[in-house]
């Protein structure tokens, strides 16, 4: 299987065009390996998990060997050697090994980044390699005990087995059966007579040979997979270890990695000419998928067989099988550039507008004369709407893409702080816009760091408080109405009201003891605010929460805090589902139409001129339910040279809330409420103060979308 020595880079075929495929695949394998390592429990690592990690490492090794990235090949080779021994139960997986494996994963990532031209220092691979090697050597001594169950070891101990195989079919040559018995006799000792019942033959057998070797003997007589090899001792060991060993996983390995063995060999083949390009072009990108799918079915029969042997393991392996199916389903995806998707979304947007225009034109026709046409239009409307929804859903990604980076961070952070922290994630399947996914990672990172660093106490303090030593940080995503709610919950010590108030006074913030909890917690979003007693390299510099709040506000979201002293803190981040479509209220200001994001609108009311009062300095306020709100006339902010100014302050008051402050926008008319597709003004023009974008209305005209927070700020100057 080893292809370490091969370097495809020296071949005559220009491999650079396949680099991108390798980079993406390697990255996927690395992150897959990392998440597997994080989820694995060294005490009861299943063969399936170990195999999956091994496969990831092996795939990277194969790929990097093919493309001549020898540094990566070296590291993965050592990784693979260790994993292979663990997988074959020659060694027992330990936490140190998981740490070393994770560290080498980081080195591989850094190496990958360098090959991609993303720069960075060349990672120190030798340290990690030494670490893995020393673990491998140290483990070698321990390995003697479990080695007796190692199936492929040359010096395997003698085993007493019961072998069952189906009655040879009628067309099987009797000589072949006799040959089989002879060979079996040579390789070990039959300790009993061959019994034949229920269409099965069985016999007791003592041998040093591995299951696989034994199985292969039956190739001429019956299906090798139908041969049952029952090892009473191993069954016992497995019951204790809880589904631990996986002696006969070789078929899976061989099936899947046959591909890789052929691949590196290809460039050096003399017959490779033009048609080799065809092979590579077609097969190379698809290869990893076929490897995975080949591996999955190959692994499944062995699980199934084991499950019948061990009823206890039944439920577990069943779950694994479904997991496997889910994973396989995810593999049937294609990579498409975001530009293409955006182009598609734009074009569908166009189609929707055209359809709306047609519908408007057709609505004037006589329904009796044009019945067919009108029903066709109704179909068209439904189809375009469905199409738009489907196209929009392409941009939606499960939030698990963001979540999966956090277990590692929490693990490292907890290790650094000597805390015990587990991270639970819920609702990974919740989908939101790709643009949001990319931008929400940083704020979430901050919130989780805060929870681990400030929220969760040291283990002894937790035990003293009657809590389990291990703290829990829960990351939960869910849909709520038209928005997505992401919660970061910890069961730590909670926020300290007194401390925050004291800190607030110290910093000269307007605080009082009568402030509500919500207001007090809000203080931690002030710039430079930190209640940490000492500054660590993790957090405590007071840079962060204000940035978090600002970043989330930029995405059109909000962040709230709930906290109970001694019980924990809950940070709630609310985000719109997508940045590409918003619910808007269209309003008329003179002859112009503007869109106000519905999320900011609290209410609208007809204000008689009496309710509006002038305040010294030229401002106006309106009294709405005993509350005086500043009036912002959109006529003033967007002067309209054609229409007469609305001096009387009559019209519609639209109460909007932004950054926690309410204001009343004075507009002439409310036109309606609709979903609008946000388009950028900046792509062909420039930023316009107070305008966040533009959209195209049903009649094909452009309407500007107002940026409420900026407008409120503008009105104050």
């Amino acid at each position: 299987m080893s292809n370490t020595g091969q370097s495809g880079g020296s071949s005559s075929i220009d491999m650079s065009q396949f680099y991108q495929v390798f980079f993406e695949e390697a990255e996927e394998h690395l992150s897959n390996m990392e998440s597997l390592l994080l989820s694995i429990d060294p005490a009861e690592a299943s063969g399936e998990e170990l195999n999956a990690i091994f496969r990831a490492a092996h795939s990277i090794k194969g790929g990097s060997g093919t493309f001549g990235f020898n540094d990566m090949t070296e590291v993965t080779h050592i990784l693979e050697s260790l994993l292979d021994r663990v997988r074959k139960n020659e060694m027992i997986l330990t936490t140190e090994m998981v740490d070393a494996l994770l560290a080498s994963g980081d080195v591989l990532k850094a190496q990958l980044a360098r090959h991609r031209g993303q720069g960075g220092e060349p990672p120190d691979a030798s340290g990690v390699c030494e670490r893995v090697k020393s673990l491998m050597n140290a483990g070698g001594a321990k390995a003697s005990a479990p080695a007796k169950t190692a199936s492929s070891s040359q010096h395997a101990a003698e085993r007493d087995l019961e072998i069952r195989f189906p009655e040879p079919a009628a067309d099987v040559d009797a000589a072949a059966v006799q040959d089989l018995y002879d060979t079996i006799g040579q390789l070990g000792a039959m300790t009993g007579e061959i019994e034949s019942k229920d269409g099965q033959r069985s016999f007791q057998y003592r041998t040093r040979k591995s299951d696989k070797e034994l199985r292969n003997l039956f190739a001429f007589v019956c299906d090798t997979q139908a041969v049952e090899i029952i090892d009473p001792q191993r069954a016992k060991a497995e019951d204790e270890a809880g589904f631990g060993l996986f002696g006969d996983a070789e078929p899976a390995k061989d099936d899947s990695f046959g591909f890789f063995d052929e691949l590196p060999a290809l460039p050096s083949a003399t017959t490779v000419k033009d048609d080799s390009f065809g092979f590579f072009g077609d097969d190379a990108p698809g290869l990893p998928a076929s490897v995975k799918s080949a591996a999955a079915p190959a692994a499944d029969p062995s699980i199934g067989r084991r499950a019948t042997d061990h009823a206890a393991a039944d439920a577990r392996s069943g779950r694994r099988e479904t997991d496997k199916n889910v994973a396989a389903a995810q593999d049937t995806s294609i990579r498409v550039s975001v530009e293409k998707v955006d182009q598609l979304i734009n074009q569908v947007g166009e189609l929707v507008i055209t359809q709306a225009m047609l519908a408007q034109a057709v609505s004037k026709l006589d329904p009796l004369l044009f019945q067919q046409m009108l029903s066709g239009m109704a179909d068209l409307e439904r189809n375009t709407r469905d199409l738009q929804e489907s196209v929009m859903s392409i941009r939606m990604l499960p939030i698990g893409f963001v979540f999966k980076r956090f277990p590692r961070m929490v693990r490292d952070l907890a290790g650094k702080l000597n805390k015990q922290v587990q991270l639970l994630t819920e609702g990974e399947g919740t989908e939101l816009d790709k643009g949001l996914i990319e931008k929400i990672a940083d704020p979430l990172n901050h919130l989780i760091r805060n929870s681990v660093d400030h929220g969760i106490e040291m283990p002894d303090a937790r035990v003293a408080a009657g809590k389990p030593a291990q703290g829990t940080v829960t990351l939960r995503a869910s849909h709520q109405g038209g928005s997505i709610l992401i919660e970061v919950v910890d069961d730590g010590k909670g926020l300290d009201r007194e401390k925050i108030l004291a800190k607030g006074r110290e910093r000269g913030l307007p605080v009082s003891d009568s402030m509500s909890d919500g207001e007090v917690w809000g203080l931690i979003f002030e710039a430079g605010f930190s209640t940490a007693d000492k500054v660590t390299d993790i957090s405590g510099r007071g840079v962060g929460m204000d940035v978090v709040k600002r970043n989330i506000a930029e995405l059109g979201g909000t962040v709230e805090i709930e906290s109970a002293t001694g019980h924990g803190t809950r940070m709630k981040v609310r985000l719109p589902l997508t940045l590409a479509i918003i619910d808007g209220m269209s309003v008329a200001v003179g002859e112009d139409v503007y869109i106000i994001p519905l999320a900011t609108v609290v209410e609208s009311l007809q204000a008689g001129s009496r309710a509006v009062r002038s305040v010294a300095g030229g401002g106006f306020v309106v009294e709405i339910r005993d509350e005086y709100l500043p009036v912002i006339s959109l006529h003033d902010l967007f002067p309209n040279d054609t229409a007469a100014k609305n001096e009387s302050k009559e019209g519609i008051m639209l109460v909007v809330e932004s950054e926690g402050v309410k204001n009343a926008f004075l507009v002439d008319e409310l036109l309606g409420q609709q979903q609008v597709v946000v388009k950028s003004l900046e792509s062909n023009y420039r930023r316009v103060p107070g305008v966040s974008g533009a959209t195209i209305m049903g009649d094909g005209r452009v309407a500007l979308i107002l940026d409420v927070p900026t407008l409120v700020r503008m009105s104050r100057h």
Binding site: I353, P639, K679, L681, E682, Y685, R686, V688, P689, V691
Partner: protein
């Protein structure tokens, strides 16, 4: 600034030019910068923008700003009727529409027809005049439309607007 260099060296290359009329003057721009020519549609005004920026239109799903060159150069009368023409330009990876009085012709000019533009106080910054061309009895003013559209004067882009403020 490359566009200034281009103008000062008078290096305008011969080629095909779209000619259009502003008031009584005839201008020519590189045909390769022109995406299409269309009638003047209703625009959506952008409040607080200079008068020569008429607003934005929906051009098959893209939001395109419309500049009235007549207002910018203060030539002719800014009338908007069925004959008003918008030239949609593709300059510096952006799409911009300019309003002109009328489009007259596409002309192939040879290098010896093009004379360098003299320095003079014109409404158009001479930086963006790349030359004058004599065609029969008429004079064609050749514009560096790309330079003009990305200039600070028009402030059509964020970068250009910042530049104008800084200047």
């Amino acid at each position: 600034m490359s566009k200034i260099d281009a103008a000062s060296h008078g290096t305008i290359h011969a080629g095909e030019f779209l000619t259009f009329v502003l008031g009584s003057e005839e201008y020519g721009i590189d045909i390769l910068k022109v995406q299409e020519i269309r009638g003047y549609d209703a625009v959506t005004r952008i409040a607080n923008a200079p008068a020569f920026i008429k607003g934005v239109i929906n051009l098959r799903g893209i939001i395109v700003p419309i500049v009235d060159l007549r207002l910018k150069f203060q030539v002719g009368e800014a009338l908007y009727n069925d004959f008003t023409v918008v030239i949609i330009l593709n300059v510096s990876n952006r799409t911009v529409g300019v309003v002109v009085d009328g489009v007259s012709d596409v002309m192939a000019l040879t290098a010896d027809q093009i004379r360098p533009a003299p320095e003079f106080g014109a409404a158009v910054d001479t930086r963006y005049l790349t030359g004058l061309a004599a065609v029969e009895e008429r004079m064609l003013i050749l514009l560096d439309i790309e330079g003009l559209m990305s200039s600070g004067d028009l402030a059509l882009t964020d970068a250009a607007a910042d530049e104008a403020i800084a200047a």
